[in-house]
Symmetry: C2
Subunit: 450 residues, 2 copies
């Protein structure tokens, strides 16, 4: 047996009704699926049938959409959802292998809670938990926690770095073999294998110990999605998986190289981190069928919802004609994203309507509409050209849009020898091809004795 061949990996972002802004109106969608357990069970089981690495739930601690133009919010399904950790604990009971990734904010949480909830999910799922670390950028979220606006960028990332450090420290409280549970002697655990953290830092003072045993994975998997300099640095230092968003091969390669090249200084091998750009994939037996599938959703976008999708960066353009040119915004939010949208509009001479139609699906992520072979080609290119280790599938709607990828694209990748035909292990780390996370204290006694 030689070196195992590097293969494409897949995960799915299973947020709400799906990624397309009109997903809930799809003829085959259950329009209240974002609050139906059956909707998520079916999606998670589809992803597991497709041998995906992970099932990911994005999250915000608040409704993050603005009602701009007025009426947009009431026409959107981005209003209510399950809390991810509770939902994934339930989904752990109806799946057996797939990794379960919940988002939790480092800005609006305390590390002790986060450490124990993810440790608990890791035990419940038999070692399949992962934490998507986010710093929560919206004012709406801040206002649910006594603040008008989020803390500034540097503060958030400084806090995030320390937060992850504390959580990891708590996960190392108990060595793997700390518990003896010897009924005969009455000794429950070996006290020399219990480690109190006693963390004192800039943002947190946390004594420990964690009141959850060492988890099946040693530590739940850490996922991150930072695009900025501090975001990339945090990912290089701590993440096992990174979400990315890029439209072009060049951008994806640049991001890939930038994050991987930062790892050496943290003593990490580049393979220890999987980079996972988002991909909205819409397959059809023919290109025409795929495009027709996409058009079903595009036609269901109410103009107010379309305008809202660009208002987040360009401001409210509802005073301008929908089929006229995109005006230079007077009050742009999120400058860099506003620039990207304007460049798009200018380059392709798009009207306001054409602009929102262009981003209504993938929202800045790469979108491939075509045959399974087209989609496999697109994946293979990025995978072999240093742009991706894995893809975060963004189904336009759930569960059908995901099931189409599982049933059509996965077999094509398998035919090419580019995709697993069975899971390689039971824990998420095993599935990712990684060893269990080592405990910083393990072997300390042995080393001291040497």
């Amino acid at each position: 047996m030689g070196e195992p061949k590097r293969q494409i990996r897949l995960g799915v972002s299973a947020i709400g009704m799906g990624y397309h802004i009109a997903a809930w109106r799809h003829p085959d969608a259950s329009p209240g699926g974002n609050m139906e357990l059956a909707h998520f069970i079916r999606s998670a089981q589809a992803a597991e049938r497709g041998l995906f690495d992970m099932f990911f739930l994005a999250d915000g601690v608040g409704i993050r959409m603005y009602d701009e133009p007025p009426g947009a919010l009431a026409r959107s399904s981005k209003n209510v959802q399950f809390e991810p950790l509770t939902l994934l604990s339930a989904l752990a009971m109806v799946t057996t292998h797939i990794g379960l990734i919940a988002t939790a904010s480092t800005t609006w949480n305390e590390p002790y809670h986060v450490a124990r909830k993810f440790a608990s999910l890791d035990h419940i799922s038999g070692g399949r938990a992962g934490w998507n670390v986010v710093t929560s950028v919206t004012a709406q979220e801040a206002q649910n926690f006594g603040h008008e606006a989020p803390p500034d960028y540097d503060h958030r990332y400084d806090r995030a770095a320390e937060f992850v450090e504390v959580v990891r420290g708590l996960w190392d409280t108990w060595e793997d073999d700390a518990f003896l549970r010897d009924k005969a002697s009455g000794i429950n655990f070996n006290p020399s294998k219990l480690h109190i953290l006693n963390h004192r830092g800039r943002h947190f003072t946390v004594r420990g110990p964690l009141n959850v045993a060492r988890t099946p994975q040693g530590a739940p998997v850490i996922v991150q999605a930072g695009a900025s300099e501090p975001g990339r640095e945090l990912a290089a230092a701590t993440a096992d998986v990174v979400y990315a968003a890029a439209q072009t091969l060049e951008d994806a390669q640049a991001y890939y190289a930038s994050v991987k090249s930062r790892m050496a200084k943290y003593g990490r091998h580049p393979d220890a981190l999987k980079i996972m750009p988002g991909l909205m994939a819409i397959p059809g037996r023919t290109r025409q069928e795929a495009h027709d599938r996409y058009e079903i959703l595009q036609e269901l976008i109410h103009p107010v919802v379309g305008l809202a999708a660009i208002a987040g960066s360009l401001g409210d353009l509802s005073a301008f004609p929908l089929d006229g040119p995109v005006p230079e915004p007077t009050n742009p939010r999120m400058l860099s994203r506003a620039r990207i949208l304007l460049d798009m509009a200018r380059r392709d001479n798009l009207s306001i309507r054409q602009l929102y139609l262009a981003i209504a699906g993938g929202n800045g992520h790469r979108t491939i509409i075509g045959t399974p072979a087209d989609i496999a080609d697109a994946m293979e290119e990025w995978f072999t050209q240093g742009a991706a280790d894995s893809f975060n599938i963004l189904p336009p709607w759930l569960p059908g849009g995901l099931e189409e990828v599982v049933d059509q694209v996965v077999p094509e990748l398998q035919r090419r020898g580019l995709y697993r035909t069975a899971y390689e292990g039971r824990t998420l780390r095993a599935i990712l091809g990684a060893a269990p996370a080592p405990n910083r204290h393990a072997g300390a006694a042995r080393r001291a004795a040497e």
Copy 2:
């Protein structure tokens, strides 16, 4: 059909290995059960087979036991556990009727998180979630959140009252019929049925809205366990169920009357609150069999663990002879509880060993060891004499100690016509005989129009 007969209700406190301090050493126990999903599945399913109202998980955000005398902690199983909300979400998938009560602290949490996690569990379980509101008294917990010690009593209870108010306000964000999800018109929800909280109080500023839909119960059930004046007041004002601890009928009656009599001033009917004293029940076909069952556990108490059980209130007595008298403590903690233990020791002339054996099981809760008829008699007395609406069963060990109650005591209560023979509904509120929680905003438009 006449007025339904008032019947005894049961719940179970399913903490860790069970209530007895030597539970994990029981010959039939799985000694690592406190971190095994199967242990809790079996316990929850036993309680549901017994038609219990609820399955309750106590919680602390930290290890709450002191290692005093040294060596006690390593001989105890009170070290690690699942986080309750994640565990109950998993248990929701393997049960169908029983209420699922998780503990969450108002001192070391933010209301927005608590509101959404319990709302999420209520959706996942189809309306079976409950929240045990606690204020977290230990220094160990405080030290995991940047404090040396918990805030003082009044501060904690003032914060708790406002915390519950905010959580309830968030649960009323969406009216029951807010969501239209009308694919044809594209209207997802009726904006006049979305209510922003805009809470500004002494402890919290929370804008809302909650990003979880109105829950199946309207609001998860609120459980409380305060013994003090502010604790009783909070229970009378907000709780649907109250845990109590009393050894004698007189004490239980006094507590019952005290809490129920406070309800009128909050506009509440006394039946709207169920009072639920703890009861360690150990049944046997004969009294001898029951006592033998109890002795199995009593004999497994290591003296250091026994001393630790009283050290929490009387301080470390390990310097004194185990079979000698209980000395007047020089450094007592928890004065009122220290007084109760000393009175017990003096009245019955107990040695140190006899004192810890006396409290090793129920830890201050009533303990009945006897035939199913003895236990049913004991319940019936308190139930008919204004001391209890329900009993919080504290199994000495899990799952066996609970299964014995389900299989032996429940049939005896049913024979007496004192206990249900089937669940009366699907949600916890329905099982408790309560209506769904009304939304404060519902009918406001109608009232305004009148």
